[in-house]
């Protein structure tokens, strides 16, 4: 039977136990709680404390999403894993996850689109299901940032931002044509790849990673960011793609019940909401507690909004992202 419309049937999250408050970082780098909060809105984030991969957190989130959808792993016919911090160099984290949850031989691939990874991954799953490739798909966003950050003063601008975590959704057929994922929208502007990036491992250099990459004033194994430049583009692209998603469905800002944006920076999301005329009740925010979990941030925020009752049947919800690439995107849902 053809699936005409898909919807999110279940959600799940996984967060490491260890809470790292801003104050905990102060001893490791020259920073302060006030400095971090003022720029990012972040008060604390989660970090792993032992060997743990994106697929390990992804497994917990995926199994919770399956339970909440009332499905078994055997029902899943497709796995899409969004990450920028895969467990290992290759194969993809999707393969590791498939093995850990016992998914059999279903197609499993990673989408590597940084902060927009979940939106892109959701778009892939929605399209492949409607094209008849499977009945149910798992879309997971999972990241372990903390093993690849520079926690010295040299790396503080980036190091304080990111947190570890995972979120997952199960996607399947909607029983109503007017409910579910209404449309998805993907964009990129590779011109600005170097404004927020992680160089090593870099196949374009020989060797693609070496000992020098771990050293020096600006080690190639740590992410680099021109914060102000990224900020300026984010506050333009976010509203643009949110309006695009609404317009594609004949809707306006007044129809939007809830915006679930990628959690990169509280100041960005506040500016975006203000510009669109959305008050705080229509904006989901959890960066204060979790930091920026890149591809995991949207499914985690979505899970929280469902749990606290801000999302209910019939509500119009927009998921939106902007980040490294640059890539940005949106998915419009009627719950």
């Amino acid at each position: 039977m053809t699936i005409e419309r898909t919807r999110i049937l279940g959600v799940g999250t996984a967060l490491p136990d260890r809470v790292v408050a801003n104050q905990d970082l102060v001893g490791r780098m020259d920073t302060s709680d006030e400095w971090i909060q003022q720029r990012t809105g972040i008060r604390e984030r989660r970090h792993v404390t032992a060997n743990c991969g994106a697929s390990d957190l992804g497994k917990i989130a995926a199994e919770e999403a399956l339970r909440s959808a009332g499905l078994r792993v055997a029902d899943i016919g497709l796995i899409v894993f969004a990450t920028l911090s895969p467990d290992i160099d290759w194969p993809a984290s999707a393969c590791l996850l498939a093995g850990k949850i016992g998914a059999g031989n279903v197609p499993a691939f990673d989408v590597r689109n940084q902060c927009s990874g979940f939106i892109y991954g959701l778009s892939c799953a929605d399209t492949l299901l409607r094209a008849g490739r499977a009945r149910y798909a798992l879309v997971v966003g999972g990241e372990i940032h903390s093993t690849g950050l520079d926690f010295t003063t040299r790396g503080r601008e980036v190091g304080v931002i990111f947190g570890d975590g995972a979120g997952a959704v199960v996607v399947g057929a909607s029983d109503r044509a007017d409910r579910g994922i209404l449309s998805t929208h993907m964009h990129a502007e590779g011109k600005y790849a170097g404004k927020l990036w992680l160089e090593a491992v870099a196949s374009r250099r020989t060797p693609r990673i070496c000992e020098q990459d771990l050293e020096g004033d600006d080690p190639a194994v740590f992410p680099r960011m021109e914060g102000k430049f990224v900020f300026r583009h984010a506050v333009t692209r976010f509203p643009e793609v949110i309006r695009e998603a609404l317009a594609a469905n004949g809707l306006g800002i007044e129809d939007l019940d809830l915006l679930v944006p990628h959690q990169a920076n509280l100041r960005i999301n506040q500016l975006v909401a203000m510009g669109l005329g959305l008050d705080e009740t229509r904006l989901v925010s959890n960066i204060e507690r979790l930091g920026n979990t890149t591809a995991a941030s949207i499914p985690i925020a979505l899970s929280e909004a469902l749990a606290d009752g801000r999302i209910a049947p019939g509500k119009v919800v927009c998921l939106a992202s902007f980040g490294a690439g640059f890539t940005w995107g949106a998915a419009l849902l009627r719950w």
Partner: protein, 340 residues
């Protein structure tokens, strides 16, 4: 009924610099003949210094776009399948988009190792043919032209010392680009299936950098121990891979009601060419109908099938049926039937 998507244009790029077996022999401490004998790989190509997969794909893309009579401005989505992106992030698709001067449409990287081209092609066909909304008559007009790139620069990540002798000669650099969309000319995908078995990841992998490793993804000790190089237990995988390739091939033939003898060509790709040939024989395709991309230019994980297809298609008349199958790390494998 939405229109069928076809590969409207196809381009491939192997770097100019050929790395012959006798050249590798010096660094790997084995004779050129012995390398050829042992690996079944005649030669491979090496990207120029500073070039990543997006550079190779750019040249392939220009040929593919021209053949598809498609302007860069018409592209609605860029999907790049690679295991070895230009940098760690963002993905090769973002770099390719910029180098092409493409509009700010989606640019997505997918990781499915040697099944990468099949994964990306499947996605492209799905985007190009799926209606925009329930009840809508046609496919989503935004995705009337999808660019699929598939390629690798493996050479910058290989162990160029005697301890790399087992695997290093088996890999190569290269890329291919297909323009996918509804149209009248070019091969269409009659069947495509691909699979993953995540229970054997460490049989064929590149472990480091590994974000799962606490507290640091990669250390000097890891690099000194060569843990950032590919490793594989090829002997342990041979039988299983042969079976999987044959099974997937039979499945897609069955999907379109074809017998193996009705195939005009079969491209079967695996890092060990003899395993690919054995699988082809199991399916019932042999001799000159069978091509093994790895034997001709090394294993280019995501790109091998697409490059091989571009090389093979000259002389295939309209109506020809071609089987594609590939397997690699993941384990991920799959097969497709194209009709020209």
């Amino acid at each position: 009924m939405p229109p069928e998507a076809r590969i409207l244009g196809l381009g491939a790029e192997l770097p100019e610099r050929e790395l012959a077996n006798r050249e590798l022999a010096e660094v790997l401490g084995e004779s050129g003949d012995a390398i050829a004998q042992r690996t079944g790989v005649r030669r491979r190509f090496q990207a120029a210094p500073g070039e990543g997969p997006s550079d190779l794909a750019l040249r392939a893309a220009n040929r593919a776009l021209s053949e598809a009579r498609t302007e860069v401005s018409e592209l609605g989505l860029i999907i790049f399948a690679t295991t070895t992106p230009d940098v760690c992030f963002p993905g090769a698709a973002c770099f390719l988009q910029h180098k092409l001067g493409a509009p700010t449409v989606g640019a997505m990287d997918v990781r499915a190792q040697s099944a990468g081209f099949l994964c990306a092609l499947d996605l492209a066909v799905a985007y190009a043919t799926t209606p925009v909304a329930p009840g809508a008559a046609g496919a989503d007009p935004r995705y009337a032209r999808v660019l699929v790139a598939a390629g690798e620069v493996m050479s910058s990540g290989l162990d160029m010392s005697p301890s790399g002798a087992e695997l290093t000669p088996r890999f190569g650099d290269g890329a291919a680009v297909a323009i996918v969309g509804p149209g009248e000319h070019g091969p269409r995908v009659r069947a495509l299936r691909w699979y993953t078995d995540g229970t054997r990841v460490e049989r064929f992998w590149c472990e480091y950098p590994a974000s799962r490793r606490y507290p640091h993804r990669v250390t000097r000790e890891d690099l000194r121990a060569g843990k950032h190089f590919p490793r594989a237990d090829l002997a342990a995988l041979a039988g299983l891979v042969r079976e999987r390739l044959a099974e997937a091939s039979r499945q897609v033939l069955n999907d379109c009601g074809l017998a193996a003898r009705e195939l005009d060509a079969a491209l079967i790709d695996y890092v060990v060419p003899s395993v690919a040939r054995d699988a082809a024989a199991d399916v019932g395709v042999e001799g000159s109908r069978v091509g093994v991309p790895t034997a001709d230019f090394g294993h280019v994980l995501a790109g091998g099938l697409a490059i091989g297809l571009e090389q093979r298609r000259a002389g295939l008349p309209r109506g020809s049926r071609v089987l594609l199958a590939a397997a690699g790390p993941g384990l991920s494998w799959g097969a497709a039937v194209l009709e020209f």
